[in-house]
């Protein structure tokens, strides 16, 4: 840490620049100068599946984070915030980091599929240009491996991924390889990946090179109708339930993997949120995850339903003006009681008093 950053990060400077903070002054000169915030500049964009017909484009985006980036462990994700062109609303989404574990300030890559319904991913893959600034969070998540090249163990590692779920697994494998996980260490990694088609396979060349390499990493690629089966897994790894396993992919794949592993504590999973379905009426159930309470959706406001369950969330005006009851809706669709507007964004801040759930809904309360 240089003297300048130490000085700029001091309490005295924080006091001098309150209430906006020093970053709001520094950005008047250069958006990469920050003391607390994390931002990143797009330095490269590479299309990963140019040959794919009929499936969504995928691109790997290289980011140069600001000096505030604390680095990441393989398998972690980062929140990316961006204001889409013509809109002033910052949209924030989570993406797994696909590059090997990074140190503070080091470059990272995100490999993103431009889903039809994903506004942020579509923008990043199709429209973002080199030089574009993004807002970042620090890396988070515990879908990480503890193996290190520094202390060789004989543990067998299993990675199972589907579709875009390959990104955190790629980060893990790249980290292992970079840090000296080679044939001489005699540590076995089994990597099973499910993709729609060979044309749609991202990282295809790199995966082929890994499969060829002298590294004890077995790569099994399955395409099209070849879904996950416990039978096949058992054939590859007879004692899979007692083997450290990481699985990441769509909900369907993860359900099958979980079934196969039963209650084995060796399995770590990460899955994409299934898209929320708007039923248009008071159906489904509402759960308040922190309190561990849930009930059938009555169609009333989230605040009233929480109170009916005996919870006591903070509230004020109860009519949408004071913002005392803002909480994070983690999943599902809510309808704004005042406007009738429906919203299905994951991890969205809502005012409990004027938000009524439509179908299943979870709130971090």
């Amino acid at each position: 840490m240089t003297l300048t950053t130490k000085l700029l990060g001091s309490r005295a400077v924080a006091a001098m620049t309150s209430p906006h903070g020093v970053d709001r002054y520094l950005e008047m000169f250069n958006p990469m100068w920050v003391v607390t915030e994390v931002r990143a500049r797009v330095v490269d964009i590479q299309r990963e599946n140019p040959a794919a017909q009929g499936s969504a484009p995928v691109a790997t985006i290289t980011l140069q984070p600001t000096s505030t980036w604390r680095g990441h462990r393989a398998g972690q994700y980062v929140q990316v915030g961006v204001e889409l062109p013509g809109s002033a609303r910052r949209m924030t989404r989570c993406f797994s980091i696909s590059s090997a574990a990074s140190l503070p300030g080091e470059r990272i890559t995100l490999t993103i599929r431009a889903n039809d319904e994903g506004q942020v991913s579509k923008f990043l893959v199709n429209e973002a240009k080199v030089g574009q600034m993004l807002h970042l969070s620090q890396a988070d998540g515990d879908f990480t491996i503890h193996e290190s090249a520094a202390t060789p163990t004989a543990n067998h590692l299993v990675m199972i991924s589907g579709g875009s779920g390959i990104t955190p697994v790629m980060s893990q494998i790249r980290t292992l390889l970079r840090d000296g996980y080679d044939g001489r260490a005699n540590r076995k990694v089994t990597f099973i990946h499910f993709a729609r088609s060979p044309e749609d396979q991202i990282f295809a060349d790199e995966l082929a090179a890994i499969a060829e390499g002298d590294n004890h990493i077995d790569v099994h690629l399955r395409y099209g109708d070849a879904t996950f089966s416990e039978f096949e897994l058992r054939r590859l790894i007879p004692d899979f339930r007692n083997t450290d396993t990481w699985a990441c992919g769509p909900g369907g794949l993860i359900e099958l993997v979980k079934e196969a592993y039963g209650d084995s504590p060796r399995l770590r999973v990460e899955f994409f949120k299934p898209p929320a379905v708007s039923l248009g009426s008071a159906e489904g159930s509402v759960s308040f995850t922190r309190a561990g309470a849930s009930a059938e959706n009555t169609g009333a406001s989230l605040l009233e339903q929480a109170e009916a369950l005996g919870l006591k969330p903070e509230f004020g005006c109860r009519m949408g003006i004071c913002f005392s009851c803002v909480k994070t809706k983690t999943d599902g669709t809510v309808r704004n009681i005042l406007t009738g507007e429906e919203s299905s964004l994951p991890d969205e801040e809502v005012r409990l008093c004027v938000s009524a759930p439509v179908g299943d809904c979870s709130v971090d309360l």
Partner: protein
């Protein structure tokens, strides 16, 4: 009657209600008691207006608030820097005053109302932002966004009627203490920042024993912390940074704070206290409809006319009526909203209280002086039979 107070209190308020209803009906033909149906229709029209503007929010609003923040930061830098040039002292004070006024009103007040939460920018989020004044954001949001904006001008509920120290409504019972009304108002103006900071302590309720020590400690702690922070910045750190000019910078910062105090006090007092602004009783507002809520916000607020710059410098609180109808809509939309709100007022025959700064200030000053003396008991006009029935039924 669904009043849960002790009987004497209930009788007193019931009397007050009768009197109030009679006054509004008899002496103020501009503010008719709308029928429930009319109120509902009125509310629906305002809801529709709100939807139209919410639908338009976007880049213009985001660019605007970011532009204001940038300008304010430039004034801040200029103000702080000019203190190093002793002959530029008046300029430094002026720049710093402008910065503080912009920050407190167009930025702080409005951001902390949640007007820009939709942008998803944590730096402009009501839960995170804490303004450049001694009042801690958390306390202020409770007392202002919740209590004042929900119970606007309901006597006994809205603590912004006289702020617990002034007599600003005839229905506040006169006591000899109120002879000092003009003096208290003047002191509040000069020390407005400190006044707002301790407002949520509800000192009058501590003295009367209604508030427990525990409650006071909970509210008081953040105040002590925030006041310390502000004092450190304006009266120690920045003066010290100018070395031998310590005293001149300290004085300059103090003057800028007072200039801001005087300005905000005057804008805010013109928003709720000019003649013609109505107050309400708790009974009138029991089980209130959305239409009546709008109606009460409208009658409980007053606007100030002026230039575009004047509106920016007052955080658009010169459109207090629109602010109270739509407290979570970005304030820069109030001028365009005011045209339609005014048209609606004409349609329903409701008075739209507005006037130049001079006129509204004079009206407020007159009220402060007049109410320092006992006001003659208004002879309760014979209340219409229907109205009294209402009271009993309420």
């Amino acid at each position: 009657m669904t009043i849960t107070d002790i009987p004497t209190q209930a009788q007193k308020t019931a009397q007050k209600t009768t009197k109030k209803k009679a006054t509004v009906a008899a002496s103020d033909p501009k503010n008719p008691n709308l029928t429930p149906e009319q109120l509902e229709e009125f509310g629906t029209e305002l809801d529709a207006l709100r939807q139209r503007v919410l639908g338009k929010l976007g880049k213009d609003d985001a660019d605007y608030i970011r532009m204001i923040v940038k300008r304010q930061q430039q004034f801040e830098i200029a103000g702080r820097a000019l203190f190093y040039l002793p002959p530029a002292w008046p300029l430094a004070v002026a720049a710093l005053s402008v910065s503080k006024i912009l920050e407190n009103m167009e930025i702080g007040h409005n951001v902390m109302h949640g007007q820009y939460d939709w942008m998803g920018d944590p730096k402009l989020n009501s839960r995170i932002y804490d303004w450049d004044t001694m009042a801690p954001g958390e306390n202020w949001k409770y007392g202002h966004n919740y209590i004042h904006h929900t119970y606007t001008n309901i006597l006994g509920k809205d603590r912004d009627i006289g702020y617990g120290i002034l007599r600003m409504d005839e229905d506040q019972k006169w006591r000899p203490y109120y002879l000092g009304n003009p003096l208290y108002a003047f002191l509040l103006m000069m020390l407005f920042e400190e006044g707002v900071a301790v407002h949520d302590l509800e000192v009058d309720r501590i003295l009367s024993g209604e508030r427990t020590w525990e409650e006071t400690k909970k509210v008081g702690k953040p105040i002590v912390k925030k006041v310390g922070k502000q004092v450190f910045k304006d009266y120690l750190l920045f003066p010290a940074l100018t070395g031998p000019l310590f005293l001149s910078t300290l004085t300059g910062n103090a003057v800028a704070n007072v200039v801001r105090n005087i300005w905000t006090f005057n804008i805010i007092f013109c928003g709720h206290f000019p003649a013609g602004v109505a107050t309400f009783t708790e009974e009138e507002c029991e089980n209130e409809s959305r239409g009546h809520w709008y109606y009460r916000q409208l009658l409980g607020s007053a606007n100030i006319t002026g230039s575009k710059l004047f509106h920016i410098m007052s955080g658009n609180l010169s459109h207090q009526i629109e602010h109270h109808l739509f407290p979570d809509i970005p304030a820069r939309r109030y001028p365009e909203l005011s045209v339609e709100v005014r048209a609606l007022c004409e349609k329903y025959g409701i008075e739209y209280n507005t006037g130049g700064l001079g006129k509204q200030l004079f009206s407020v000053a007159k009220k402060i002086v007049k109410l320092s003396f006992p006001t003659p008991k208004r002879t309760p006009a014979p209340a219409p039979a229907a109205a009294s029935d209402d009271v009993v039924a309420a």
